[in-house]
């Protein structure tokens, strides 16, 4: 391959079952890519497009070389389907064996010597005379790999090539691929980062039919973040349980979580909020939006009890009509909270693990001995975030984004009845943002937490949020 492959604003339809949308991607001949993403994200489709699959709806695809070697489950299924079609032997009244493996490999083979060598290495020698369709799935896969590798391709696309291979064969295949990297550019579709061969130079990340990230492996930060993202997306995102020993008072199911009536907030003569009514029912996820200065954070702090004027407004929260002898800790026990202000205030020298645990105590820093169970839950959150290795590192030495992730875990750790996320993604890079959004979606799905999400980025929509409150700026 001598020219670059170029995908420009490419939209491809796959029998109306799936669509790749607006892909922009370029692959130079000296690059070796891994395409990754979650199940169903479209990574196999993207690989297959380069081998001519799908119907281009718009955009352009150029520079694809003539000879593409493709190994994938889809190609395998197609080959098997073709073989089954040949088996129209009922009209001939003979038992058709189908095409033997030898024929499948050596007919039209560009490099028979290599093919023989690979047959040997893959342990298919004894199966050469067997009919192709009698092979097991793994054997079929091996045969396809031999065919592709010995076809002298200009581009090799291997979709999950290591799946189902035993350890020895896997090592052999990896070594073989490593030996030919200078001859042919490769694109591997992989679910797992730890299977990524050393020669891979770039990673493409596909999500919901879109190519969302392309990362140079040299860029360690971006690479690690992508790793975390994939880790999060492909782990079943089991949100760790709440502390079973927690003794949160039961809430009356008949009452709303929050009921604000005729809210007025002003500083001096500046009116911030004037006459707002708002009720948040249990399980009713809300998105709050509005321009800077429209009073979003102010409104939230009336709910959390952080705003001093909560005492002069008609505020009902978690069974308390505010200003009747309740303490803010009785309110905060029902709330998980993250905001930029919290991160700014969270300036204590404590470990990452303690930051998560402090969510059980609604404190900034830890002032109480935590239980073993709480430590265990914090460990699970760290694992979920892909940050287990940083459990004991000081929080204030972490990057802004990592701090933010920990504070989000802190907010979620006790499975609060109300989870308030005030611009949780602010300052996060693209990948961390997706990671956080995925977590929020997961929390929304669960029944026991009501989510109140604040942002002004329209693209950060959360599935499951169906109620919207837009504040406008008071002039």
């Amino acid at each position: 391959m001598t020219a670059s492959i170029c995908l420009q604003n490419l939209t491809v339809n796959f029998d109306d079952r799936f669509k790749l949308s607006e892909i922009d991607w370029s692959i130079t001949p000296d690059q070796h890519w891994v395409i990754t993403g979650t199940n169903g994200a479209g990574k196999s489709a993207l690989g297959a497009v380069l081998a001519g699959a799908g119907e281009i709806e718009s955009g352009t695809l150029s520079g694809v070389p003539g000879k593409v070697g493709l190994v994938s489950f889809e190609a395998q299924a197609e080959l098997i389907a073709q073989e089954l079609k040949k088996d129209d032997a009922d009209i001939m009244d003979v038992i058709a064996e189908g095409t033997p493996v030898r024929e499948m490999i050596f007919n039209d083979c560009a490099d028979p010597d290599l093919a023989s060598e690979l047959v040997e290495k893959f342990g298919l020698t004894g199966l050469l005379d067997r009919a192709f369709r009698k092979l097991s799935t793994g054997e079929t896969r091996k045969m396809m790999l031999i065919r592709a590798l010995s076809s002298k391709p200009d581009l090799l696309i291997l979709d999950e090539p290591f799946d189902g291979l035993d350890a020895n064969t896997l090592v052999m295949l990896q070594e073989h691929l490593a030996a030919i990297v200078d001859d042919v550019p490769m694109i591997l579709v992989l679910n797992r980062f730890d299977e990524m061969p050393a020669f891979i130079t770039h990673v493409a990340y596909v999500d919901k039919g879109r190519l969302t990230h392309t990362v140079d492996r040299q860029d360690e930060t971006a690479f690690n973040e992508l790793y975390q993202l994939l880790h999060l997306k492909t782990t079943d995102l089991d949100v760790p349980e709440a502390d079973p020993a927690s003794t949160l008072p039961a809430l009356d199911p008949e009452q709303p979580l929050v009921n604000l009536k005729n809210i007025r907030v002003k500083y001096g003569d500046d009116v911030i909020i004037d006459g707002l009514d708002w009720t948040i029912e249990r399980g009713q996820h809300w998105q709050l939006s509005g321009p800077n200065g429209s009073g979003k954070t102010c409104l939230l702090s009336l709910i959390t009890g952080d705003h001093p004027q909560c005492y002069v407004n008609d505020i009902f929260v978690f069974g308390f009509q505010r200003g009747n002898g309740e303490s803010i800790w009785q309110i905060k026990q029902f709330i998980g909270y993250v905001s930029t202000a919290l991160q700014w205030e969270y300036r204590v020298s404590t470990s990452c693990k303690n930051v998560i645990i402090s969510g059980f105590y609604d404190s900034i820093g830890m002032y109480t001995k935590s239980t073993d169970k709480q430590k265990e839950i914090a460990d699970q959150w760290l694992a979920l975030l892909g940050m287990s290795d940083r459990a004991d590192q000081p929080f204030n030495k972490l990057s802004y984004g990592d701090q933010r992730l920990l504070l989000i875990a802190r907010a979620m750790v006790k499975h609060p009845p109300l989870l308030i996320l005030d611009e949780p993604c602010l300052g996060l890079d693209d990948m961390n943002r997706q990671l956080v959004l995925a977590l929020i979606e997961k929390i929304c799905e669960a029944k026991n937490t009501t989510v109140l999400y604040v942002n002004h980025h329209a693209e950060d929509q959360i599935a499951g949020i169906e109620n919207f409150l837009a504040l406008t700026k008071h002039s």
């Binding site: 001096g268 001093p308 002069v312 009785q330 020298s349 402090s358 002032y367």
Partner: protein
Amino acid sequence: MANYFNTLPLREQLEQLGKCRFMALSEFADGVEALKGKKMVVVGCGAQGLNQGLNLRDSGLDVSYALRPEAIAEKRQSWKNATENGFTVGTYEELIPTADVVLNLTPDKQHTAVVNAVMPLMKEGACLSYSHGFNIVEEGMKIRDDLTVIMVAPKCPGSEVRAEYVRGFGVPTLIAVHEDNDPKGEGLALAKAYAVGTGGHKAGVLMSSFIAEVKSDLMGEQTILCGMLQTGSILCFDKMVEEGIDAGYASKLIQYGWETITEALKYGGVTNMLDRLSNPAKIKAFDLAEELKQIMRPLYNKHQDDIMNGNFSSGMMEDWANDDIKLHTWRAETAETNFEKTPAGDVEISEQEFFDNGILMVAMVKAGVELAFETMTAAGIIAESAYYESLHETPLIANTIARKKLYEMNATISDTAEYGCYLYNHACVPLLADFMKGIKSDVIGKGLSVEDNGVDNARLIEVNTALRSHPVEAVGSVLRGHMADMKKIV
């Protein structure tokens, strides 16, 4: 009014001075119950008044603010502080008669006027709370017999009282009951509930007496806390400039140096502060401190004596009556010192360099802390009180100097502390004149110029033993242990 302390027989003076006990968290199990549903009216809406009120309200208590009519009519800062935070504000006449507890959080100087105005309005059997005992102990204010009088004194600036509460913690707090005014025997219960309401119980509460608080607080603030750091700043700066060190560097070394070296003090006492030095520097600092202690001991004794016999407070009250003429003159002088007028240079000074090039500053802190502690305990103040009012609070003032230098530091602390600070400084600067003549840049500004860090083993052992066996280290390690238990910031 007569000095209350001086009216007591020696036996009782000693008993009151000796009161100081670190309370167990379990003693606060009743939380704010004793104050639940009671009306708390704060007089004074400065940093302590506002922030304590915010905490108490957030702990579920009923708090409002009584201000003078002119503060309300003119919408002064105190009025703004209270109303913008959603508190009920009214005049003394409107609010005091409804109060179950009146929290007097005005500056010492206003206490007599405030209490005289408030007391006739207070209802039968109510409680009057102070956060400093000067008015009772030094001015001899006599409170109506039916009223309960307590003290709750958070040992941090108001902003920190609030910030720590919001984090879910609190600041160390001293409480006391004025035994002459505890008609219903509920003083302690109210003081404990108040300390819980401000979050203080989480950081540690000391049960003390009005007398111990006043006599130790005055001694600490005017000697080691403010006085020694002020004198040290002025002398060290002038010496460095005299020695040819860049003035910007000198200014920065001092402004931030106190904070850095006393941070080590906060964590591990005088021992740890000196352990941050190389062995030769440690021995040097030790020797300088011994010399300083010898020179300054009479001054510390004089301050303690004047505090005990009431001369200090009567002198200061004379100045109050004289429109603060002395205070204002001294304040203006502070603004004119070379250190104050020289901004910190744009140079990097590493954390360790503050120690290495500030050996004399380390020696001054050591001498001041130990002298204040020794003088206080010799005068009958119990070691725990003496520790808190000397070593424990030094980093707080050092931190203020780092942020504001001397002039603003003095403006931030109480008038009482400021007056005492100047008194000390005026006596101490000339007292150290001869000593300073022998000081060179090796102990301030440049660091020791030694071939290697070798020292005599026997001498090092002697110095280390002396450091570690000082009584302030013994009580300090116990009290810091309590604090660490509670403030478990791992």
